[in-house]
């Protein structure tokens, strides 16, 4: 049953937690503890990443079902079991989480100097929550991890964040919690109706369309905030701007994917009718998100805020793709989620490199960086291009697939998405021009050092992925092909059955 022969997913989930407990037991002088905490966190996350590569090699791409399944008694009398497993939709997100965590630890190596031990503990706990969430096959287990993310992230933003960190962390926490508790009620309703919260079992449970609408709205409250979709996105710029660099990377790289993952995992398969009914509304919100936030991004003075708004725009493409309900759209959405995870994470790291040196995120503070830091400028350009979906880089295949899929259904929608791509090119290139090119007007910039070996090491895997995903998208698409096809077939069958019944 379990391809790895041992409980791989549980190990991936709880090993970081064990590392966190170990770090908490460290004692000694502050400086020694800080160093040990850094190394312990790095090794833990690297070991977790190495283990997670088993998923990459042993995952059976032809099987649309759940693999590496584990099941333990938990609250079995009430229909809740500890059930873990991954399918084509979730497997790469587990890998994305395990990849980004060591990168974040490495990126915070020098940037975080206060309370290093607590910082590393928070990141490892965060990794546990992220991996557990993507691997959970029980709705309550999923919810536990989904909500559990809030605690470490709240602390990361609030303790190590910028000037308005308190405001940003509270907004992040309460906004997300408000959406999630409504989802909890929907989960409880599903539990009541089906007598179980096991996700594969719930897939077999037909829900009357009238009930679907309510459940969909409750799920929407949670996932739309998490994605975030316009107009529920206002927490994101604040959280991104105030979070420390690595916090922004995780936020953009993984946490934003949780909402879209929720739509794919729950809304579509469980609520086919409501999803179809609400699709036009989602299109509208997505298009508004793409166009409006792109325009907002154009006007930003703060680098992190600009990238935060660009995230909202990219996630608009993702939600658009999900609600086209065809194979291209879903594959494109998943691909965009992955590429956005890599690219926007890398962009935040790029901002972090400058911020560590100058302690300013203001675009006007820079100019002519390309002359001073050539290799940095090259890396930054690569990710800028990937973000504007230049063919051959990570951003392109996903967005293309989504636009093609949208075109099939509704050319106007496709036009909106394409408009977003053009605007995306505008604000990203404008950002790059202002930061990297032009005359050097600020004299103190002349003394900046180019990237250190550690920073090269941080970017290396991301550069590799950004190019790999662009040149050979099929490597990644092949992971979710079978699962996505099965999802689409089931969705159409559910709608078809209802149509027949209605005749």
């Amino acid at each position: 049953m379990n391809a790895a022969g041992f409980p791989l997913l549980s190990l991936l989930t709880f090993l970081p937690l064990a590392g966190a407990v170990f770090i908490l037991t460290l004692k000694g002088e502050d400086k020694v503890v800080a160093d040990n905490a850094r190394w312990a966190a790095l090794w833990t996350s690297l070991i977790v990443f190495a283990l997670s590569l088993i998923l990459w090699f042993r995952f059976d791409k032809t099987d649309p079902g759940f693999q590496f399944v584990e099941r333990l008694d938990w609250l079995t009398d009430f229909g809740i079991t500890y059930h873990m497993g991954v399918d084509g939709i979730s497997v790469l997100f587990v890998l994305l989480s395990t990849l980004l965590t060591p990168i974040c630890v490495l990126a915070s190596w020098d940037a975080i100097q206060t309370r290093v031990r607590e910082y590393m503990v928070a990141f490892l706990v965060l990794e546990t929550m992220m991996v557990g969430m993507f691997a959970a096959l029980d709705f309550i287990v999923f919810y536990v991890f989904f909500e559990g993310v809030l605690i470490p992230m709240f602390l990361i933003i609030g303790v190590w964040g910028g000037k308005r960190r308190v405001y940003a962390s509270f907004k992040f926490f309460l906004y997300t919690l408000l959406g999630s508790v409504l989802m909890l009620l929907a989960i409880l309703l599903l539990w009541y109706r089906a007598g179980t919260t096991d996700i594969p079992a719930l897939f077999q449970h037909a829900i009357p369309p009238a009930v679907q609408t309510w459940i969909f709205l409750a799920f929407f409250a949670s996932f739309a905030v998490k994605v975030p979709m316009w107009p529920f996105h206002t927490w994101l710029p604040d959280a991104h701007v105030e979070a420390p660099t690595a916090g922004s990377v995780i936020l953009a790289g993984v946490l934003l994917k949780m909402g879209a993952y929720g739509f794919l995992r729950f809304s579509l398969p469980l609520l086919p009718h409501a999803s179809a009914d609400f699709a036009p509304a989602i299109y509208v919100l997505s298009i508004v998100a793409v166009v409006y936030t792109s325009l907002v991004a154009l006007a930003q003075e703060d680098m992190k805020k600009l990238i935060a708004y660009s995230s909202v725009a990219h996630m608009g493409i993702v939600t658009l793709g999900i609600f086209t309900f065809n194979v291209q759209g879903l594959s494109g959405a998943l691909f965009t989620m992955l590429s956005h995870g890599v690219v926007s994470g890398a962009l935040f790291l790029c901002v972090g490199v400058l911020y560590d040196r100058v302690h300013s995120r203001e675009i006007a503070r820079y100019g002519g960086v390309a002359k001073i830091m050539p290799s940095y400028a090259l890396v930054f350009m690569l990710f800028t291009m990937a973000s504007v979906a230049l063919p051959g880089l990570a951003g392109f295949p996903g967005e293309l697939l989504v636009i093609v899929a949208a075109w099939k259904g509704n050319p106007t929608v496709a036009f909106g998405a394409a408009l977003g791509m053009i605007l995306g090119a505008a604000y990203m290139l404008y950002l790059y021009k202002r930061v990297a090119f032009g005359r050097i007007t600020k004299d103190d910039l002349r003394g900046l050092l180019d990237m250190s070996p550690r920073e090269h090491l941080v970017f290396a895997p991301l550069i590799l992925l950004a190019i790999w995903m662009g040149v050979s998208p099929q490597t990644f698409l092949s992971f979710f092909e079978a699962s996505v096809t099965a999802l689409v077939v089931r969705h159409e069958a559910a709608l078809g059955a209802a149509r027949l019944a209605g005749m």
């Binding site: 609030g158 408000l178 009620l185």
Partner: protein, 473 residues
């Protein structure tokens, strides 16, 4: 006549008298010895309660079943922790008098009689024994104005509540001709016999109990008493008596008045709604942390009553699970409050915790865990309590209650987060005094439970299930 059923109560009563003797006779201060003896008595009583046979005794006055076992164990844990928390605090505040543990033993005896009562008379006797002891301990710091005020206020309002309860009981007796719970249930098995007078009597009983659990709109005494009483007393108030009173609520409404569920359900729904909303909003503006915890406990009673409002087996189970989790995490949070002293003086403003993460990280981490747990954030224990009661509410179709409940839990998350913010984000306001081992013990034990409950929740839920099965027959 099977007096062995009452063995835990008898042991506790005799221990109370013996400890009183130990306290009075020697000339030196025997506070510590008495306190230790009280803890020992609680543990012994708990062991006896776990092993107690089932049945009813003293002419049906008291019963012993899975429900009483569940409630008694919780009460005794709460009481023992209450004594342990008071050890250091009382010594430092000059309150180390042997009467304190003795009073707590008698209060606990009252609670145990309450939960095992199967008759309105036994119920009242237990409740009064509890209340009288609590009035005294609330004013235990008698030279302190606020403490004296707390005691007096609690006495006046508590006496009013007892009067209402007694009036309700007498109406019930008048209309059914019996005070025995089983007979009342028999009399009401045909709901057409439920006359208006009886319903009025039942509502009075509910009001009396609502006073004791401090549910809105009968909560007015809570913030003042919580603030004025010495902190370990507040810790005790918020733990064991709350569980006992909620347990009594479940017993009375589920047992004798079980067939009138249609009548009492709407009352419970209303007080539950009001408690949740008031507990969420009123705590926001508080700067005194004891007052804040008072409103927080009002809110928690509201959540627990959601389970009761569902008037179903699942609801009762949720109620018991909620109270067990509430008791254990609350003890930890109050342990932190008891440990809040700076330069030898007890401090109780929220700001006094500022920067605790820098000066005492482990206490700050535990407190943050308690706060997140009270806000209902998974994977901490508090989440599971909320999950079970809301599940019951949804099963019963009480959507208003469920939606208002989760929304007010978001509001209340704000002030729990504020405490975390003060501890972790703010600059330090100076280190707190080193905390005593007794407080650390309670805090750590409670923290470990709160954090790791999610690993193995089944035993507690199963015990609650067995208790409910006994309660509803």
């Amino acid at each position: 006549m099977n007096w062995t059923l009452a063995l835990p109560e008898l042991v506790l009563a005799l221990s109370g008298l013996a400890i009183l003797g130990i306290g009075v006779l020697p000339k030196r201060n025997t506070h510590f010895a008495c306190a230790m003896a009280a803890v020992g008595a609680f543990l012994l009583a708990a062991a006896l309660a776990i092993g107690a046979p089932e049945g009813s005794a003293f002419g049906g006055q008291i019963v012993s079943d899975a429900f009483t076992r569940f409630a008694k164990v919780l009460i005794l844990i709460g009481a023992a922790a209450g004594v342990v928390l008071s050890l250091d605090y009382n010594a430092r505040e000059g309150l180390d008098r042997f009467e304190y543990p003795v009073l707590l033993v008698f209060a606990t005896l009252g609670m145990m009689v309450m939960v095992s009562a199967n008759d309105l008379m036994a119920l009242y006797v237990g409740l009064e024994l509890l209340s009288l002891s609590l009035y005294v301990v609330a004013a235990f710091n008698r030279d302190d104005e606020r403490s004296a005020e707390a005691g007096l206020k609690y006495f006046v309002l508590g006496a009013l509540a007892s009067g209402l309860l007694l009036y309700g009981s007498s109406l019930t007796y008048g209309f059914t001709g019996t005070t025995n719970f089983d007979r009342i249930a028999d009399a009401l098995s045909d709901p057409s016999k439920a006359s208006a007078g009886l319903v009025v009597g039942m509502v009075f009983v509910i009001v009396g109990l609502a006073f004791k659990v401090s549910a809105v709109p009968f909560h007015m005494w809570t913030p003042d008493v919580y603030e004025g009483a010495p902190t370990p007393v507040t810790a005790f108030f918020a733990a064991a008596p709350k569980v006992a009173a909620i347990g009594l609520f479940a017993r009375v409404l589920g047992g004798p008045f079980g067939d009138l569920a249609g009548q009492w359900q709407q009352v419970i729904v209303l007080i539950s709604l009001l408690s949740m909303v008031l507990g969420a909003f009123a705590a926001i503006g508080q700067s005194n942390i004891k007052r804040l915890m008072a409103y927080s406990s009002i809110g928690h009673v509201g959540y627990a009553l959601v389970g009761l409002a569902a008037a179903s087996e699942a609801g009762m189970r949720g109620l018991l699970v909620y109270m067990a989790i509430y008791l254990l995490m609350n003890l930890g949070a109050f342990a932190v409050l008891v440990a809040m002293r700076r330069q030898g003086r007890a401090v109780e403003r929220v700001e006094d915790l500022a920067g605790l993460a820098r000066t005492d990280l482990s206490m700050a981490v535990w407190m943050a865990i308690f706060m997140f747990s009270m806000a209902g954030i998974p994977p901490l224990a508090g989440f599971f309590g909320k999950m079970f009661v809301f599940k019951a509410a949804i099963d019963a179709g009480l959507w208003t209650l469920a939606i208002v409940g989760v929304l007010s839990s978001v509001v209340s998350a704000f002030y729990y987060l504020r405490i975390v913010k003060v501890m972790f984000f703010d600059e330090t306001a100076g280190a707190l005094d080193p905390r005593p081992a007794s407080v650390s013990f309670v805090m750590t034990a409670s923290g470990v439970f709160t954090t790791l409950f999610f690993l193995y929740p089944a035993p507690l839920v199963a015990a609650a299930q067995a208790a409910v099965a006994a309660l509803l027959g």
